[in-house]
Symmetry: C2
């Protein structure tokens, strides 16, 4: 990897090669011209977080923004008695933070080992003001995330527990397909990026219910649980028939919006 040294907090103190950056072609910086790109290079700071670490915490002042370059993370929000809900999934290339707000609105937790390319918020806002390419790219990404959030609101508001779980699988399959840039086959194997408890938080259910539905779906032959974090989907179409919204999941459209911020 490009990180050559690292201090105690996980911040690299020197070089990181943008030209081999895994999100070079779709992050917020992906469409800027060479001089804007140099500005970014000058102010960026590479940091890493270990699995489970809080990248940001709701309520604290927002001091930096940036791109997720490796790993995955999620956005979470809690009620005062501790009930929690995941409200977003962050994958490589996704933007973290909110220009124009001084306070963080959601907890952001590293789901795996994570690498970030961060900018101090003031530095970033200066570039954003000056660069139409950056603000347009960020607009595009934000619109995609908004559609994805709204689509997921339907799942949280109306879907049964079985539908929620199959919807999550469909989302992950499409995600992989897009990321690996290949077609969705009739069968698929997916690596679950979460533990059962994370899945429960994502779906608005308890872990017990999630576990029961896993078993049911396996009993019905719709999935095969292959170890704790891996499942096989023998028939993708049969799976999405259980989501309550198969038409949408079949439709190419979802391939675009359900990814955190996919682009073509």
């Amino acid at each position: 990897m490009q990180v050559t040294s690292r201090d105690a907090t996980g911040t690299t103190t020197d070089k990181f090669n943008c030209s081999v950056c895994p999100v070079r072609d779709h992050a917020v910086c992906s469409r800027c011209n060479p001089e804007e790109f140099e500005q970014f290079k000058a102010i960026r700071r590479i940091r890493s977080f270990s699995k489970g670490a809080h990248i940001m915490r709701a309520g604290e002042p927002m001091t930096s923004v940036g791109s997720l370059t490796r790993g995955s993370a999620y956005l979470r929000r809690s009620l005062e008695d501790g009930r929690r809900q995941m409200v977003g999934l962050l994958m490589p290339g996704d933007f973290i933070g909110r220009p124009g707000r001084r306070e963080v609105a959601f907890d952001i937790i590293a789901g795996t080992e994570v690498q970030l390319c961060q900018f101090r918020i003031g530095d970033f806002e200066r570039i954003l003001q000056a660069s139409p390419a950056v603000s347009r790219r960020l607009l595009e990404m934000t619109l995609d995330e908004l559609d994805a959030a709204r689509l997921w609101m339907l799942v949280l508001g109306r879907a049964t527990s079985r539908e929620r779980l199959t919807s999550l699988f469909a989302l992950l399959v499409q995600h992989d397909a897009r990321h690996m840039s290949r077609k969705i086959g009739i069968s698929a194997k997916i690596e679950l990026p979460f533990a059962r408890s994370d899945i429960a938080e994502f779906l608005g259910l308890t872990i017990e219910t999630v576990s029961r539905r896993f078993s049911d779906l396996q009993g019905d032959g719709l999935i095969r649980i292959e170890g704790r974090r891996k499942i096989l989907i023998p028939d993708y179409l049969a799976l999405i028939a259980e989501t309550g919204d198969s038409e949408s999941w079949r439709h190419e459209f979802h391939g675009e919006v359900c990814l955190s911020s996919a682009v073509e």
Copy 2:
């Protein structure tokens, strides 16, 4: 009103005076320079829709975008068996449509008599490309909506029916407060922009459950139902204590994000 004539479909054929436009200071066009503003004037088309009408339908090609200038509308999405969920509330000044996508993702329904200021999508995208002021304003609005959507995901995923209803009331109170630009008092009167069935679709509940919780809250003295579409909240703080997230509702922050696209 400024509309001087109207054809059968509700499209005005001539003048509309932007200088007295009710959303002049916060719509997508609010920050552009005089010449950009002239461009907007040249391509805009004022349309109106009656209560209950579909402004757009999920799946159809997106031919135009624009601003909601009067009335309110909502975004809705359905499962194939007819279960429905509202996924957004549109108030005057809010932007309708999605540059960069050719297909409409959600049903948009007029909640009241509605007036729109529309542009053909191609015309709008041309201005968007050329004008940093417009794309920055749209980015700002979209980021606010994304935060609001995610905040609502917590309600849909985790709140009880009582919490959902009180959260909706809190949202409407804050909305009014912002719109009328006055402080939230200890007591408030709100006009419900929906029927019970709409509230149910918004909250992810059935109308029966909504109705029962209305009665409960009135029994507990937290609200007074004053006619079908009006309620009085004698003690706003007592109300938000029932949301499960009173800290957030008290916090000024929510005054910013829970509005569809408020600006300061």
